[in-house]
């Protein structure tokens, strides 16, 4: 695979391939020295136009465990703020001999634009409200491993997954919905109309604004982060009303099935969408998502850049 820009172009075969590789990377990460020389001599540049220390560190850890050279292109000290076009920036950095760019940008589509201007591979670390494919892959990996299912094309079949909150502005929701449904799950999105995307009827999901009607009847509850700036856009009346209708509180948590997984992409807004301590939940897998993130990103980097067997041992 040349790029990982979005779930649709990865396809179900690609998803399964990454999930299988991720199993192997989990095993690598359990070793006393969790490092393999798979990408020795390959240079990876993380190009984060939007700050996200968590995602950047997850990618950088993954790259180091595969022995790649990882460099951070810090936007604040670069020339992108000095009237240089995005294209100029990419062409300049590419000229230094880069095998892959890990791109994060607040605007949808930037990874596709960037890939026109460089021969390097592009890994999307989140673009606008559009895609966050490694998040979707680590979410799929987390669900199926928690349920003990092998990495197959229908490994989420029979599951009903609720995605709760600001779907409209969420790249996580867009990528997750595509990945979950590709692997056979049914998805129900739970949000007020103002936080649903336009023409949501064209999405392969059920829609409701009644969280209480679904909590007892799903296999996974996926809580999205509610950003406070949405208040100023009149998308919800106030945070209290939002929490009352769409927050995971004790009453709702008590009605979850015993085996229901609770997930969140982080960072969590306690007291807004999460009114319970995840540690108090029977099956919160929020920290598991974070640790799986490294293995899945190793799998992605290897899939994009590796030309040898990941077994190449130290």
């Amino acid at each position: 695979m040349k790029h990982l820009r979005g779930i649709p172009e990865l396809g179900v075969e690609g998803i399964v391939r990454i999930l299988n590789l991720a199993d192997h990377m989990v095993e690598v990460n359990r070793r006393p020295v969790p490092k393999v020389p798979a990408l020795v001599g390959r240079t990876v540049v993380s190009l984060f136009f939007e700050d996200s220390t968590r995602t950047r560190i997850s990618f950088e850890t993954a790259a180091k465990r595969l022995s790649a050279d990882i460099m951070t292109f810090s936007v604040s000290t670069s020339s992108v703020n000095k009237g240089e076009s995005l294209r100029d920036t990419i062409e300049t950095v590419s000229a230094m001999g880069v095998a892959a760019f890990i791109v994060r940008h607040k605007t949808s589509g930037v990874p596709w634009q960037v890939s026109q201007w460089t021969d390097a591979s592009i890994i999307n670390a989140g673009d606008g409200w559009h895609q966050h494919p490694t998040q979707a892959l680590l979410d799929c990996h987390t669900i199926r491993t928690e349920l003990g299912r092998p990495a197959t094309e229908d490994c989420l079949a029979g599951l009903r997954i609720a995605i709760v909150g600001d779907v409209r502005h969420s790249r996580v929701a867009r990528s997750d919905i595509q990945a979950f449904t590709a692997l056979g799950a049914r998805v129900v999105v739970v949000a007020p109309r103002t936080l649903l995307p336009p023409e949501v009827h064209t999405w392969p999901v059920e829609v409701t604004s009644d969280l209480d009607s679904v909590v007892a009847d799903v296999d996974v509850v996926y809580m999205l982060r509610m950003q406070r700036e949405r208040m100023s856009e009149a998308l919800v009346p106030d945070l209290g009303e939002y929490s009352n209708r769409f927050g995971l509180d004790h009453a709702r948590a008590a009605r979850l099935r015993d085996e229901c997984l609770v997930m969140h992409p982080g960072p969590m807004n306690r007291g807004v969408e999460m009114l319970v301590d995840p540690a108090d939940l029977r099956r919160s897998v929020v920290t598991r998502q974070v640790s799986n993130g490294v293995a899945v990103r190793m799998a992605v980097l290897f899939d994009v850049l590796g030309d040898t067997n990941p077994e190449v041992a130290s």
Binding site: S85, L86, R87, D88, H105, K106, T107, S108, G109, V110, W112, Q113, D127, G128, W129, H130, Q131, R171, R174, P197, P198, E199, V200, T202, W203
Partner: protein
């Protein structure tokens, strides 16, 4: 030493289609003296000799086109276009007059700037540049421009294009105050509170791409407001770049009520839809945005039944480095002058005469220049003409366009309909697709 130079030009073998002919036109030879048509004979008849001769065989001779909506960028944004380069693109596109939009820097809200734009156009000598004036000072939406003062510089079309006038009180006053001046208020219809940060049409495509949407209602609310303001004020409204089906319906109803409302549509709004944004290429970012196939069908129907009077380009050049940015920061707009005829004749399914009406004599009337553009091809008339090959195909190549910028959304597209020659005030400014200055 010389006697006053007399310019003569013959245009031979062409089929004339103008406001007075039927759709088939008539085959004639034309003799032009000093900017005016002096003799017309049946093709092959005896014609006085001339300094130069344009071959119009197998071609159509039409009144030159008039673009109601051209961004020439000068003064202020000369890196993207100048009045000279934009005029050259216009001439190559068959236009003998273009209305220069006022969102320059400084804006066209004073006689000094308006006169500058007109004079730069005269100096370029490739088409008549007709400056529009702002509706409000600095296009800031706060204070009316002295319309009667700008009329002394020949301005008859006022617009804040780029912005719609948001304040309903101010717009009411603009219509009222101008209602007995005989000028037209041309509105860029966009309620900006509904389009903050918008990149593309709000619909299923934008939903999947995760881009901020520009909802149709933001245009329609202002179309509705202004139609109702015209109803109570007696003002005159021209709706710029109509893009939605519902806007077309409202304009149709307003015309049926006898209101002074006219409208234009751009070629890109009837040839491209919001799916183009799937490429994430900012060349497809334009304001108002590319809409849906249903809107395209409604726009075409509006052109066919006369609800929409004119095809206007909204030619909006942007230098490469401005467009090679993320979609939210890239400026909206696309080139249009050099592709307008081909897209109109090739993709509307309308007869040629109706297309020419929308490109020439209808917009000439709206622009207030019908005394010299969009005229019948007849003895005594000013020779502002386009010679056209409606059936000849060509391929759009951004590097070969005359505009200083290259942001055409039609790169590589095969189109049908070409401009052979353009005649401005009796001088051939384009001969065989080559600009003469």
């Amino acid at each position: 030493m010389n006697a006053r130079e007399v310019n003569t030009l013959n245009i031979v073998g062409g089929r004339v289609i103008d406001p007075t002919t039927d759709a088939d036109g008539r085959l004639v030879d034309i003799h032009v003296v000093d900017g005016r048509i002096a003799v017309i004979v049946e093709a092959g008849g005896a014609l006085p000799s001339a300094d130069s001769v344009l071959d119009a065989s197998n071609a159509v001779v039409s009144p030159g086109f008039v673009d109601l909506h051209t961004h020439l960028r000068e003064p202020g944004r000369e890196e993207s276009e100048t009045i000279e380069t934009g005029s050259r693109a216009a001439a190559l596109g068959g236009f003998t007059a273009v209305v220069a939009m006022p969102n320059t820097d400084p804006a066209q809200d004073s006689r000094a700037v308006v006169e500058f734009v007109r004079e730069q156009g005269r100096r370029a000598g490739l088409c008549e540049v007709v400056p529009s004036g702002c509706i409000t000072v600095g296009r800031a939406g706060e204070q009316l421009v002295p319309y009667a003062e700008l009329m002394k510089s020949g301005v008859t079309l006022f617009t804040d294009d780029g912005n719609g006038v948001q304040d309903p009180l101010l717009m009411r006053r603009a219509f009222e105050y101008s209602s007995d001046l005989g000028v037209t208020m041309a509105q860029h219809c966009e309620v900006s509170r509904l389009t903050a940060g918008a990149v593309m049409h709000e619909g299923s495509c934008c939903s999947h791409l995760g881009l901020p949407g520009w909802p149709s209602i933001a245009e329609e609310l202002m179309v509705h407001r202004d139609i109702e303001l015209v109803r109570i004020t007696g003002g005159r409204l021209h709706v710029l770049h109509v893009s939605t089906a519902r806007s077309v319906e409202m304009i149709r109803a307003a015309k049926a009520d006898g209101l002074s409302v006219t409208a234009e549509v751009t070629p890109h709004h009837f040839t491209l839809d919001d799916e183009s944004l799937r490429s994430f290429d900012p060349v497809f970012k334009v304001n108002p945005p590319l809409r849906t196939m249903a809107d395209i069908e409604a726009l075409k129907a509006g052109l066919r039944d006369g609800t929409i009077d004119a095809i206007a380009t909204d030619h909006a050049p942007h230098a490469d480095h401005l467009k090679e940015q993320p979609l939210d920061t890239a400026p909206p707009g696309m080139l249009g002058l050099e592709t307008a005829f081909a897209l109109s004749v090739g993709e509307l399914g309308m007869d040629l005469r109706s297309v020419l009406a929308c490109l020439s004599w209808n917009p000439a009337r709206i622009a207030g220049i019908a005394d010299r553009h969009g005229r019948p091809v007849a003895v005594g008339e000013p020779a502002n003409l386009a010679v056209l090959d409606p059936g000849v195909g060509w391929t759009v190549d951004r590097r070969r366009l005359a505009s200083k910028s290259r942001n055409t959304p039609y790169e590589g597209r095969s189109v049908t309909g070409r401009v052979r020659h353009t005649v401005l005030n009796g001088r051939a400014v384009v001969i065989d697709q080559v600009a003469q200055r």
